[in-house]
């Protein structure tokens, strides 16, 4: 008998059928991957199971018995636990407090912290989830926080564990550890639903795969019976080129030169501790690293959004260290920001307006301070065609486009300016396979056209497939540099997690650890 069975679950949002008669079966001790692009309805389905959304139709059976799950509490009581993509942890509380909340061991309302800590320690030992019960969650790394989330679910008695995009924020090592933990949970008799859009995870970790598209289940298979290409086809509904075809780079003159850059973060701590790098024309330099190791500050300093404490930035020998964004744009820097909705676009503006942001004062879009609507619209139509932004009209508001089309819009504007340097931060974050393919091809086209490209991404895969040189950032420094094809994920991951500080690297032949990160 399956531990969890969903029968024809339907969930309708205004204008969208997020789930259309979706059925799914989860057996005891099994890992089922729920695969699909963003917006396919995976998270909606699991939020229904966890009582966060009320279904409009269908049936949920736990241990063969039909149940109604109206609140997370009822889901928890049925043994269903969920680790959300955005952690449900209270940053200011301790690990123990977070884990016990909702089920506190207490007498007359007074919490028995000794018992609580003991229980947390016991669970953490049993499943190999090492964590300090007294630590404040805010002080933990993302990987650690995820452990706390899993412990929380186990503490609440979860037998069915739903993991929503669990690897999105992890380093390759942490991903390895996570799947180790998941394996041990399954051998202990738990059942796991893994929500993901990453094909390699499905192939590596799942016993069975259920593929969703546009709110429906479009197929079911096992990793043994298919491969990544087959999965991608099921997921997207057409053939997808997964590997980017690229010719070797032909680097030209130096375009960007950064020296000894020190930048403070908002807490006035050094986020960059003396970073140096160069990017040549016709070359893609990829910055790998776990989120929060200074990549954001590096990008912001280069594009003029953040004032460096010391060091210098120059573009084709012109100093732009302290240039404001307007001046950096004029100098020839284009920027695809990591948060397209906050910094890349004005969501309340229409497409034509968004496409000239940054150029709005200049010819040919403005004359004597007056916008020339006809010219602007003409340019907008052309770029929207060039970049394949799917929209009924240029008068549509940017906020109404899908994520992929929003990103194409940003690219259309930034590349349409014909810059010398393109700084692209997380250019494919949250995009589906089809859009990722487009963005990657576009970035390579720019490189082949002689542009210098600085690519920052949490996705190691992306860095490895696009970059001609790879720099690894760790704690505000460049920890290592690799040439294209010189390093594998494991070696890069090693430096991403501070590996250079330890005694030995796993395979010492390739890659140069750059001491202090200063001189490149």
């Amino acid at each position: 008998m399956p531990v969890l069975e969903l029968r024809e679950i339907t969930k309708v949002f205004p204008g969208v059928r997020a789930n259309d008669r979706v059925s799914l079966v989860l057996e005891r001790g099994e890992i089922v991957a729920l695969l699909g692009e963003n917006g396919a309805g995976k998270s909606t389905l699991m939020n229904v199971v966890y009582g966060l959304l009320a279904p409009d139709g269908g049936e949920i059976l736990v241990d063969g018995k039909p149940v109604r799950i109206r609140t997370p509490r009822e889901a928890i009581d049925l043994g269903i636990g969920m680790v959300h993509q955005h952690f449900m942890l209270v940053q200011t509380l301790t690990v123990t407090e977070n884990i016990i909340m909702g089920h506190e061991p207490s007498r007359f309302g007074v919490i028995d912290f000794a018992t609580a800590r003991a229980k947390v320690r016991e669970l953490s030992l049993r499943y190999g989830l090492k964590v300090d019960p007294g630590a404040r969650v805010a002080d933990l790394s993302v990987g650690m926080q995820q452990r706390v989330e899993i412990l929380k679910a186990l503490y609440q008695g979860a037998r069915i564990l739903i993991l929503d995009e669990p690897t999105a924020v992890l380093s390759p090592q942490e991903v390895g550890e996570l799947f180790g933990v998941v394996r041990s949970l399954v051998t202990e008799g738990l059942s796991v639903v893994l929500i993901t859009h990453k094909l390699d995870e499905v192939m590596g970790a799942a016993d069975r795969v259920v593929v969703m598209r546009d709110g429906r289940v479009v197929g079911e298979t096992t990793p043994a019976k298919t491969d990544q290409v087959g999965l991608a086809r099921m997921m997207v509904g057409r053939d997808v080129v997964l590997t980017v075809e690229r010719t070797p780079a032909r680097p030209g003159e130096t375009v960007l030169e950064v020296r000894d850059l020190v930048v403070l973060d908002e807490r006035r701590l050094e986020a960059l501790k003396g970073v140096g790098l160069t990017v040549h024309a016709g070359e893609i330099v990829g910055i790998a690293g776990v989120d929060g190791n200074g990549q954001t500050q590096l990008v912001e300093a280069i594009v003029g959004l953040k004032r460096p404490q010391s060091g210098s930035i120059s573009l084709r020998d012109k100093d732009i260290t302290h240039a404001a964004p307007r001046a950096t744009i004029h100098a020839g820097v284009s920027h695809v920001p990591e948060d397209r909705q906050r910094r890349g676009l004005v969501l309340e503006f229409d497409l034509a307006e968004n496409l000239i942001l940054g150029d709005q004062r200049d010819a040919p879009y403005a004359r004597a301070g007056i916008m020339r609507t006809r010219v602007i619209d003409e340019a907008a139509r052309k770029r929207i065609g060039d970049y394949d932004v799917r929209t009924p009209s240029i008068r549509v508001l940017a906020g109404n486009l899908s994520g992929g089309n929003q990103q194409k819009l940003v690219l259309a504007r930034e590349m349409g300016r014909d810059p010398d340097l393109l700084v692209a931060a997380q250019p494919t974050r949250g995009l589906d396979v089809g859009a990722i393919e487009f963005v990657h091809r576009r970035i390579l086209t720019e490189r082949d056209g002689g542009k210098a490209v600085l690519l920052v991404s949490m996705e190691l895969e992306e860095i490895m497939s696009l970059s001609d040189r790879i720099l690894v950032m760790y704690e505000g420094r460049i920890a290592a540099e690799f040439a294209a094809g010189e390093a594998d994920a494991e070696r890069i991951g090693f430096f991403m997690t501070g590996g250079s500080k330890k005694d030995h690297a796993p395979a010492p032949q390739a890659g140069t650890a750059v001491a202090g990160g200063g001189g490149l």
Binding site: N47, Y50, L52, L53, T71, P72, R73, I76, M82, H84, F87, M88, L89, V90, Q91, T92, L93, E97, N98, I100, M101, G102, H103, E104, S106, G109, V110, I111, F113, K152, Q156
Partner: protein
């Protein structure tokens, strides 16, 4: 002059002045920890102070007056809870509206009930001190005893209650199930929701507690300190309490200690007024001092205060 200035009486006065601030501040702490901004503390104190007097005059029982003050505070806070938790209104707007409502309501009812503007009738007997130890005599020991008596044993009940509430609330916030959930509500309500904590109910309780404490603060003002309600008599104390809550970093004991600082400023202000006969400094200058202190403390002294992360944000299920 300085010797006659720094008397035990000044310290006792500081503690008395701190009491209404502290009660309201602790109410603010509890409310804001749940994620609801409460700038209506001023109004809650005001209705508490007013209805305390009204019920005392009507029944002749000052303790019924205290109960009425608390009930009045709770009722006003219930409006705030309904507006900001259920209707998801802007909490600052709701609080501002309630402050205006409290001011208008008390001013209006005062005229309707007592027939004259400006103030109510005075109550016959204020609540007296809890202890009444004999003092007097001469010698060092007698002097020391009189100091101890003044600083420790000279207060009315609500003054002691405020100290007890500060300690109990601090303990409850960090040791009990209620406290843990309260702290989670203001930081990450969705996290609390996903483990089965009822966010809206928790916030209601917190807002109502702040109303009760605000009402009690009002009762202390009229029924223990002044004996009569006059128009807008809280004169910004609710806002000073809010500042004390921030200065106390959203903890009950911290709120109490911060209130003590502001209470001390108020005590000095009163003392200065009595010293000012003959010199040229206008009385308004002294009246200003506690507020100046608030500005200095909040702007200069404490650095950046980090409040609950989800404060002011109405919670909506997905």
């Amino acid at each position: 002059m300085w010797l006659s200035f720094l008397t035990p009486d000044l310290f006792a006065s500081a503690i008395r002045m701190a009491t209404p601030l502290a009660l309201a501040a602790i109410g603010g702490t509890i409310c804001e920890r749940s994620g609801v901004v409460n700038i209506a503390l001023e109004g809650m104190m005001l209705v508490g102070a007013f209805f305390g007097v009204v019920v005392t005059l009507a029944t002749g029982n000052v303790w019924l007056g205290v109960v009425a003050a608390i009930v009045a505070g709770v009722l006003l806070s219930a409006i705030h809870a309904f507006a900001s938790v259920t209707l998801r209104m802007d909490q600052v707007v709701s609080g501002t509206a309630l402050n205006i409502l409290a001011l208008g309501l008390t001013g209006f009812l005062m005229e309707v009930i007592y027939g004259h503007p400006g103030a109510t009738n005075g109550i016959a007997h204020k609540i007296g001190p809890v202890f009444n130890f004999p003092t007097g005599g001469t010698g060092v020991l007698a002097t020391i005893w009189s100091w101890v008596d003044q600083i420790v044993f000279s207060y009315t009940p609500i003054v002691y209650v405020a100290i007890i509430i500060a300690i109990v609330a601090q303990w409850a916030m960090y040791r009990t199930r209620w406290g843990l959930r309260l702290r989670a509500l203001g930081e990450h309500p969705r996290a609390a929701d996903t483990v089965g904590v009822r966010v809206q109910a928790g916030r209601y309780v917190a807002v109502l507690i702040s109303g009760a404490l605000g009402g009690l603060a009002g009762a202390n003002l009229t029924l223990e300190q002044v004996g009569v309600f006059s128009d807008n008599m809280t004169s910004g104390r609710g806002f000073i309490a809010l500042a004390a809550n921030i200065f106390g970093r959203w903890t009950p004991v911290g709120s109490y200690l911060a209130s003590l600082l502001f209470g001390f400023a108020e005590a000095i202000e009163i003392r200065m007024q009595s010293f000012q006969q003959g010199n040229q400094i206008p009385v308004q200058f002294f009246l200003m001092l506690p507020y100046v202190l608030v500005v200095i403390v909040l702007a200069g002294f404490m650095g950046r205060a980090v409040g609950p992360a989800a404060i002011g944000k109405p919670y909506e299920k997905e």
